[in-house]
Symmetry: C2
Subunit: 753 residues, 2 copies
């Protein structure tokens, strides 16, 4: 645990420039607007350790797959979101001394990210014998105008002598990724131009060997300042504007850089792209800085009005949940259905910014409650649009139907470990489950009937081909899989995977009853196929141990040496950093919820005692070395009224990054697992469930808290739930009256109550 920022309910703030943990501070002060985002690196050059990263949603490059020993079926490339053309660069000279916070003496430093508005403010005073100059630098990526990045400087001369100031603002295409092979550069400049006070650069990602599209990105900068623009020389890969002036004692200057970023994802050709870029530049040029800031604040206020979670009595927890919501929304707010949620969002290079099953498994439930229905629908459509890729992945393995990828940008599998690429197929079940989850929560079957059914049918066909009939046992089995617990590989009959396969077939058959005859015809499902699915549903093998009364994670699991996690010497944790892979595999230790993941998915379908026996058996064996684990255990613990365990699990999720629990936040934030803390509160502490059309709650108040409250939207309503020492209040803030269940009783919400 490492806490580098102060506790504050609404701010991520520090008064220390922590050079030793610069990257950590940069990760934590990342900003984004779904369209693009950036780490918290400084605008000016910084001569000590730093990791500059700007990322544009959906702009990626396919890097050749590198493995020691090739296996048939491996994907040809591994995609990665590439570091964008650098457009935030601004360098400053004071009396011809270049500003470099690694070396320039400063005082009164403050770095503060306001989560209410998404504005990052940096303040410091340059403090030389000859000069005292105060800087206040604010930047944001606009939520109101997605293509806009804005950074503004207020520079005040506090010294007694006049100070000459020179500000050099540029757009630079000479950029690479830290994880690039051989520091290759990804950008080729197509065209660029500049005036004394503005400039643009249009660059294209370099060609690739895999036939995936190249991306063109246009970046235009304009400036508003009382400094004087002076002529400047551009180089081959950048455009530069330089501004100069002299500040008398107590005098101050303003400088603002506005950057418009457009991509070929939104424009058909370079001409329209260039035109679009200029239109947008002119549009923002017509607005004052204050107007841009106000827009930004208003948009964030709207989001918080729907989503904020308030916790009393625990500011650290309060800050944690808000930070998680803020970063989630900065990564994805669902406006662009072509985009999705990478495990690190716009905050780092790791995992290449691609899509994992985290989205459907952990992010969707949150967006269902906190964003418009359309946002969740877009998340589902993303997969519908990638059906072709999923068919391709299944074909690569010689199988029918669709296999959704473990890691992808375009539907084509990207990952290259056989035990995951080929075997962690439970992901397919979560893609199907998300359709069920969406339909159950919204009560709206339109998506299911029009598009969801295509995905369900394709996945069902995969399962039906992937199972095999075990003559000896007279059941259908699924051999050779990796479950959610990646600490076992190539196992047989993972209960969770078999359950989801069986459930998918069942749900697909039910759903087919609801769709149009034309759809049925289009899907070309024969009676024989339906009969085969029915047969699999009835004869699917779901390993159980009658004596222990539990579901068995997979064949042979109970033959292991079942010592609890508490028996592992502390200095050997986390085991994935201390044990050889084979030792991890044959150990009974579970990386993340596996059987319990299945119980969470269908939490209202299992009797209390079954949930209890399984939780009591698997929880002590779980090391939670995945950030997607603790929240599931928190919800189940709460469901079983293991309140202390639920709180313990919540705390593992809420400040994972703020307190750098896993000591890896330097690489970027754990975006997809940030939903965990919200799930732990809403589905866990407050016990929110939707079964049939019934919304219900079964809340408890964690001991160290005096109150918590949150809002959810549910079927056109906005509902506020407050839990404090006096009990639970449920308030209908918007929408039609509704009956909800609170503990055992049903209460009617009429609004204003």
């Amino acid at each position: 645990m490492q806490r580098t920022f102060e506790i504050d309910p609404w701010k991520i703030v520090t008064h220390k420039l922590d050079k030793a943990n610069k990257r950590l501070q940069e990760s934590m002060t990342s900003i984004g607007n779904g369209y693009m985002g950036m780490r918290g690196m400084f605008e000016e050059d910084y001569s000590a350790d730093t990791h500059s990263g700007i990322y544009i949603g959906g702009v990626w490059f396919p890097d050749k797959t590198v493995v020691g020993w090739w296996k048939n079926g491996y994907p040809k490339y591994f995609g990665k979101v590439i570091n964008a053309v650098n457009f935030d660069k601004v360098n400053v000279w004071l009396n011809d001394q270049k500003l470099d916070l690694a070396t320039t003496p400063i005082k009164d430093f403050e770095l503060s990210l306001d989560m209410k508005t998404g504005i990052l403010t940096r303040q410091f005073t340059v403090d030389n014998q000859e000069t005292q100059v105060r800087f206040t630098i604010q930047r944001f990526v606009s939520v109101a105008q997605k293509q806009l990045f804005d950074v503004s400087y207020q520079v005040e001369n506090l010294g007694s002598q006049p100070v000459t100031i020179r500000i050099v603002s540029e757009i630079n295409a000479d950029v690479s990724n830290e994880d690039a092979n051989y520091d290759e550069k990804f950008w080729n400049v197509k065209t660029k131009a500049q005036t004394t006070d503005s400039g643009y650069l249009i660059a294209e990602t370099k060609p690739n060997d895999f036939g995936t599209p190249q991306f063109t990105v246009g970046t235009q900068m304009t400036h508003q300042t009382d400094l004087k623009a002076v002529q400047t020389a551009e180089t081959e890969k950048n455009v530069v504007n330089t501004f100069e002036g002299t500040l008398a004692n107590q005098e101050s200057s303003q400088f603002e850089k506005r950057v418009i970023v457009v991509t070929s994802r939104d424009y058909d050709d370079d001409a329209t792209l260039k035109a679009g870029m200029e239109v947008l530049s002119q549009k923002v040029a017509a607005q004052t800085h204050q107007q841009l800031v106000t827009e930004q604040s208003v948009e964030w206020a709207k989001r918080w009005a729907k989503a904020d979670v308030q916790i009393s009595g625990d500011d650290a927890a309060q800050q944690g949940i808000r930070f998680n919501l803020f970063q989630l929304f900065s990564t994805f707010y669902g406006e662009d259905k072509r985009l999705n949620i990478g495990p690190k969002g716009f905050t780092g290079e790791k995992y290449g910014g691609a899509t994992y099953w985290d989205t459907e498994g952990f992010a969707l439930p949150l967006y269902l409650s906190l964003a418009d229905q359309k946002v969740s629908e877009n998340l589902l459509e993303y997969r519908h649009n990638q059906l072709a890729g999923a068919f391709h992945n299944a074909r690569e393995q010689g199988l029918k139907g669709a296999l959704y990828p473990m890691v992808t940008f375009n539907g084509i599998e990207n990952h290259n470990e056989w035990e995951i690429t080929f075997e962690e197929i439970h992901r397919n079940g979560t893609i199907a489950y998300a359709i069920y989850n969406y339909t159950r929560y919204t009560g709206d079957e339109t998506y299911l009937k029009t598009k969801g059914i295509d995905v369900l049918t394709a996945i069902s066909r995969f399962w039906a081909d992937r199972v095999h009939w075990s003559k000896r046992k007279g059941v259908y089995m699924i051999h050779g899989v990796t479950g959610p617990n990646e600490y076992e590989n190539n196992v047989n009959n993972n209960w969770y995977t078999n359950l989801l396969a069986q459930w998918t077939l069942k749900y697909t058959l039910e759903s087919l009853k609801k769709v149009s005859d034309k759809k049925i015809a289009d899907l070309a499902i024969s009676k024989e196929e339906e009969a085969q699915w029915q047969d699999i549903i009835h004869k699917m093998y779901l390993p159980e141990d009658k004596k222990l009364g539990i579901f068995v994670q997979n064949d042979c699991f109970l033959d292991k040496d079942l010592q609890p996690v508490t028996s592992i010497p502390k200095d050997q944790l986390p085991i994935n950093q201390h044990w050889s892979w084979d030792k991890i595999l044959r150990s009974p230790y579970i990386k993340q919820a596996d059987v319990l993941q299945g119980i969470w998915y269908f939490i209202d379908k299992f009797p209390e005692d079954v949930k209890k026996r399984n939780f009591d058996f698997y929880e002590p064996l779980t090391v939670h070395e995945s950030s997607l684990s603790a929240c599931v255990h928190a919800i189940l613990a709460a469901d079983l009224r293991y309140e202390q365990k639920a709180v313990e699990m919540y705390e593992r999720t809420a400040r994972l990054d703020l307190d750098n629990y896993n000591n890896d936040t330097v690489d970027g934030l754990h975006i997809t697992s940030m939903t965990g803390s919200w799930l732990a509160i809403v589905q866990g502490f407050a016990g929110m469930r939707v079964s049939g059309d019934q919304l219900s709650f079964k809340p408890f108040l964690p001991k160290k808290w005096t109150a918590y409250q949150f809002r959810i939207n549910f079927r056109g309503r906005l509902i506020e739930v407050r839990v404090d020492t006096t009990g639970t209040k449920i308030n209908l803030l918007k929408g039609q009256p509704l009956k909800v269940q609170l503990n055992q009783e049903v209460v009617a919400l009429k609004g204003g109550d």
Copy 2:
């Protein structure tokens, strides 16, 4: 199947320069003397496709491990035998036309490897309008003087005009491997010098990051010729001697290049290495070419006298078995206990020339019968000398005792697939079994008591730590292994692995009774440890199916969809080239003998009906996509008197390379599996067994053969076995009288009978 050479009982001969299959011809005409060896590339430059390779035993380089996703415990480097400084290079000009068989018009081509003498002869006539010149080129690496390579030219002018001839002989250190990353060169020249008719070059392998030794190789060339030596310029990385002359009509010239190759493996420093190189050069300089050739023929004759297998009625089979023996002995004849047998010997780069368990599993039984006992002892000592590395490998996995590597040069594991590196631990059992096999065959317990016991104890300690106690089943288990059948990974309780673990413990405890008290004390085996081993022996889990009466390959195997290999569409074979890895893994198809490997190891311990039921069950599921599989099935089929199946399996092994069965002989020969054809004849067709002190035979004659005979040495005797249509004759050629069992009866061999 692709046959590029003619059928001949003693020669590998062709009269066609097959440019399309040049690499194949080069692999097949490889020569070696255990110390060094080379592919059959031409001495002169060849401008079309060719693969030049010269390899020196034990001279290798550690190449950085490259994997997509790192796993704890992976080795840091992958070792490879590097292409040696090129010393066979000789270029020829006729009337200033450079000889290049890719373009120069020739006739009367013959390429012939005489397996009796190990001499490779190449003949052709250059046939231009102006010149007809006959070349006869012979080369060999001397078996009598290991450091000597000799290539001799007889050049005769058949034309009517005089011909000027220039021969340029060189040693060149500008060499790389085809499989090198980025074509890196491995050799740095340390020193070199030349006279008009001789030269030497001393080069060192480039430094590495892994602390493994660099190797220095000294190469000196001298020449015997009636041509005139002329001055010539050397370059930075080579030494060159040039010779010229004019041949009148019908006149001929001789040219001979003798190269001495010495390495830092045999000399402490460069000074002694250089001195040693010169001493050897002078020694051979004192001998005539005829003397060198005679030495060579005599040494090979000695080998054949002990080892030849004669087959009547099937020249293809005759050629096959001789080719296999010839190439095996060219790779390894046991003089240097620091060396071992790489899967491709000196015939190619693949598998890096490292040591696999093939040696103990498949090569040792052959060397026991065909070479001096000392040779087999050296093979065992190789592992004893690498105990430190084996301890290291076990430590890397957090385990006690010794784990012998899958792939190695120095005892340190080299391979980097977790399912093999960490899990294919059955290899450890074969290292132990080899000690038993050696002791049983020789009847000599000296090695066992002095060194073998160290290895057995270390391996037993590994097994004792690697098993776990399954409380539920009340047995010891071994989870997470890959058996000999590499078409299943990370399985539990592989019968073969568990059997060998149990057997090793048993054999170690028995052997400990025989060793000195001092040894016992050195090994520090406590009563508790012995007791623990006993407990594991008694309670080891060996999966069996009572109903089928078979041993079960591993847990869950019988749950698979058990369709025979005959059900696989022909166009999907071999499955490893057509199926995604996961499909192979969950299929029932067996790459190489697994349960049957164990039955072969202890063939006299299992009752007939047990052997039969297991063979009948597993054979139809085996695809034999490893070259180490068919011979085991051949032996068991013969044992069960499935004569036709035995012959079918023999044929898969005997001409694997000669007929390029697996279409991969271009990469080099399958050296370690060449023992398979001999095993199939001697242990299979002739049914040779040794149990206790009793040598026995139970022969049959394959239908299409009229006779076969072979010789074995057994405990100081040389015995000839002849099987023909009239029956079996066993002849004691040398040594003390002996009783052997032939079928049911015991016959006394007195010699001369």
